[in-house]
């Protein structure tokens, strides 16, 4: 029994001092659990080895996203925010449009010389659909002073915290799409009230929004000069009575803090 267990000890340094060290005391009390315990130890040793590995993997994944979202301070200092922003987006796999120029896609990324030629030209549109941009990476875009159109469609790491920073673009931004972002909810959409120059806003297909139709109405009220493309507009063209009643009923459902008051 001891021999096969030994190598497991080696892979699992946490085993001896970790959770088991403490719990071990109390569980050692039940003597009939002895046989079970060795089996459990074995499994636990095995699993915590796997656990360490998986935790490492999880951290690595996060680091990968973070690395992608680093700012290019060198480029920014040398060539200005627009080149740095464009370079950042192209590298992530998105597209950019400089004023008076054609769209540039990720395949143009190799021709960095083309980008450098546009040094004095501001970026006016960015399409970061599906890119791994996150809160940090957004810094690169917030520096674009003449950005008029921004698409963040289906960006997995764009969340409410990101939306809360878009107020920095309030002067220039006219079109915005956050359609299909899995982490964006009505709480983040509420921050868009800062963007008073917005003409078009796409908030369709947001799974984290609990009440899509009601949210759309409230966003429209909040941004009266903006055309809001909401969740399933085809669906709201032929309104279903049950649907509506649900929308009105659910807001009064207990909120997080009301749950606490019940306790």
């Amino acid at each position: 029994m001891a021999a096969p267990r030994a190598p497991l000890h080696l892979v699992t340094p946490v085993w001896s001092g970790g959770t088991w060290g403490i719990r071990g005391l109390s569980s050692a009390v039940a003597p009939e659990g002895n046989k079970k315990r060795t089996l459990l130890q074995l499994l636990c040793g095995y699993f915590s080895g796997v656990r360490v590995l998986r935790e490492y993997q999880f951290r690595k994944q996060l680091q990968k996203v973070q690395k992608k979202n680093r700012s290019f301070t060198y480029i920014q200092d040398r060539y200005g925010p627009d080149i740095a922003g464009a370079y950042f987006i192209l590298k992530l796999g998105g597209s950019v449009k400089f004023q008076g120029n054609e769209w540039m896609g990720p395949k143009d990324h190799g021709h960095s010389l083309d980008v450098l030629k546009l040094q004095a030209v501001p970026v006016e549109a960015v399409d970061a659909s599906g890119c791994a941009i996150n809160y940090q990476g957004l810094d690169n875009l917030l520096a674009l002073k003449e950005l008029r159109s921004l698409s963040l469609q289906r960006c997995p790491h764009v969340d409410d915290w990101c939306l809360s920073r878009l107020y920095l673009m309030a002067n220039s931004l006219q079109e915005l799409s956050v359609a299909g972002c899995p982490q964006v909810s009505e709480r983040g959409l509420a921050c868009l009230h800062h963007l008073q120059n917005l003409h078009r806003l796409d908030i369709s297909d947001l799974p984290a929004v609990t009440n899509p139709s009601l949210t759309q109405i409230l966003v429209e009220e909040m941004l009266p000069n903006c055309e809001v493309m909401g969740a399933d507009w085809t669906h709201s063209l032929n309104p279903q009575p049950e649907d509506e009643s649900q929308d009105i009923a659910s807001p009064s459902a207990p909120s997080p803090s009301s749950r606490s008051s019940a306790g």
Partner: protein, 486 residues
């Protein structure tokens, strides 16, 4: 009898050790022997139903390096950072003692969940900035393998503080400091205010400050449960029980003037199990007092404040429960999605709650009107006399509203200067405080936990210097005050 039972329970360490040395023989044989021994013990002991060798997992362990009193958000945050910052995984054993796992009276669950950086003390601003960062990355910090990600429900809508002419200059000074520290706060004139939030009546408002990033409100339960889940996965034991006694050793010393000083060291904490007289002594090296509104009582258990008045020994921990009401109302014409958490010049505040034109709000009573903290009953007249009139004046649509429900909770109120108490007690040298945040403890918790863990592990503050929050100030009489407390 109970004492004896416990002593027998204590013997379990011996049992497992003694038996362990005999291991190595064939397992089958071993099992048979164990059964025999168990039978023997059963027949010797009086009473048949009771078996000492059975599960004692509900009892806390007999030793723990650190015992944290109070499993609210502050206690759990300290536990989290102790484990996170430890040198080697499993290096320190941490036990959190919480008397009520339903948290029915705990402030954490009854709070409003607000976070702001609009303070006048640099320490508070830094704490809150750190916490905002923590909350933003909560799913990195508190990730548990195979656990679903936490949904913090953060509403990043900011705080909007209104100042009258009298308060305007203080507000301006505060905002300058807040921006220096890196908070994203802007000042607004009444004119700008009317344009942005047309539902506000700006009469009597000279200036407003408005948080643009990192301010708003979130679900306090999510933070609490997330911390619980995480610390348990890190090996922290959370046990249900009440800390009723500290056993300390005394050390008499002479200070430079030749006066005698008695230093205390707690070496054992008695944890009383719920609904029984049974208690378990836990040997420990460090005690963290994170008992929220009750931390003054816990400090008294360690003898803090029991001495002649005016001496360090006689200085109490000035933290006590103060009852605060929160009312929830419905107002169909009320402010929309963009509404921030608004704090009026009168001190009354409100925020939106969900999408259905429901609002939460309240107001802190004046010192003379402090309600009796004996129970958590709600005084509905308070809303009609103190909360509604100023709010309806400020937001005219609130003239017509319907109160739906209300609740009360306890502030962990520091009567001395309404700010946190962090760090060790000068005489009871191994009791550390993490309490007294009087209405902003939830949002500071992630950062305060880190500061306390740094103190315990490294002997000094590293990330944020909180020397202004140590216990000494109560004896020295130096207040660490805020110039706008909500």
């Amino acid at each position: 009898m109970l004492r004896r039972a416990l002593q027998l329970g204590l013997g379990r360490g011996f049992w497992s050790r003694g038996l362990g040395t005999r291991r190595g023989g064939s397992t089958l044989d071993w099992d048979g022997k164990m059964l025999e021994i168990k039978k023997k013990i059963q027949s010797v002991l009086p009473g048949s139903a009771w078996e000492p060798l059975y599960d004692t997992s509900h009892l806390p362990p007999e030793h723990s390096d650190v015992v944290i009193v109070g499993g609210g958000v502050l206690g759990l945050s300290v536990a989290f950072w102790l484990k996170k910052l430890e040198q080697r995984q499993g290096a320190i054993r941490v036990l959190v003692v919480e008397r009520d796992h339903t948290y029915s009276c705990a402030s954490t669950g009854l709070s409003l969940g607000g976070i702001r950086q609009q303070y006048s003390l640099p320490e508070n601003i830094q704490l809150s900035l750190f916490s905002a960062d923590f909350l933003r990355n909560i799913n990195e910090y508190l990730a548990v393998l195979d656990g679903p990600p936490l949904d913090l429900q953060f509403n990043p809508l900011g705080y909007l503080l209104l100042a009258s002419e009298k308060g305007a200059s203080i507000m301006e000074k505060n905002v300058k400091l807040q921006r220096q520290e890196g908070a994203k706060i802007c000042l607004m004139s009444p004119e700008q205010l009317r344009n942005k939030f047309p539902w506000i009546n700006t009469e009597g408002v000279a200036l407003a400050s408005y948080g643009l990033e990192g301010e708003g409100w979130f679900d306090p339960w999510c933070l609490l449960q997330g911390l619980r889940r995480k610390v348990q996965s890190m090996g922290v034991i959370i046990c249900q029980g009440e800390v009723t006694r500290f056993v300390s050793s005394l050390d008499c010393m002479k200070d430079v003037d030749g006066e005698e000083v008695t230093l205390k060291r707690i070496y054992e904490v008695h944890v009383k199990m719920n609904q029984s007289l049974e208690y378990q002594p836990v040997e420990c090296a460090v005690v963290i007092n994170a008992a929220g509104a009750w931390s003054g009582q816990v400090a008294a258990l360690a003898g803090i404040g029991q001495g002649p008045p005016g001496t360090l020994k006689g200085t109490k921990l000035p933290v006590e429960p103060r009852k605060r009401y929160v009312y929830s109302w419905h107002c169909p014409q009320g402010p929309g999605l963009e509404a921030p958490l608004l704090v009026d010049t009168s001190g009354a505040y409100f925020r939106r709650d969900g999408l259905g034109h429901n609002y939460l709000g309240g107001c802190s009573p004046s010192e003379e009107e402090e309600p009796d903290p004996g129970d958590l009953e709600v005084d509905h007249d308070f809303f009609h006399h103190k909360v509604w009139p100023p709010l309806a004046q400020r937001i005219p649509v609130f003239e017509a509203l319907k109160v739906q429900r209300a609740w009360a909770g306890y502030y962990d109120y520091n009567t001395f200067d309404q700010n946190g108490v962090v760090g060790p007690h000068p005489l009871v040298t191994n009791m550390y405080f993490a309490t007294g945040f009087s209405g902003h403890g939830l949002q500071q918790a992630p950062a305060v936990g880190r500061a306390v863990a740094e103190l315990v592990l490294n002997g000094q503050f590293q990330t944020i210097n909180l020397n202004a929050f140590t216990f000494d100030r109560f004896f020295l009489g130096v207040k660490t005050e805020e110039f706008n407390i909500i």
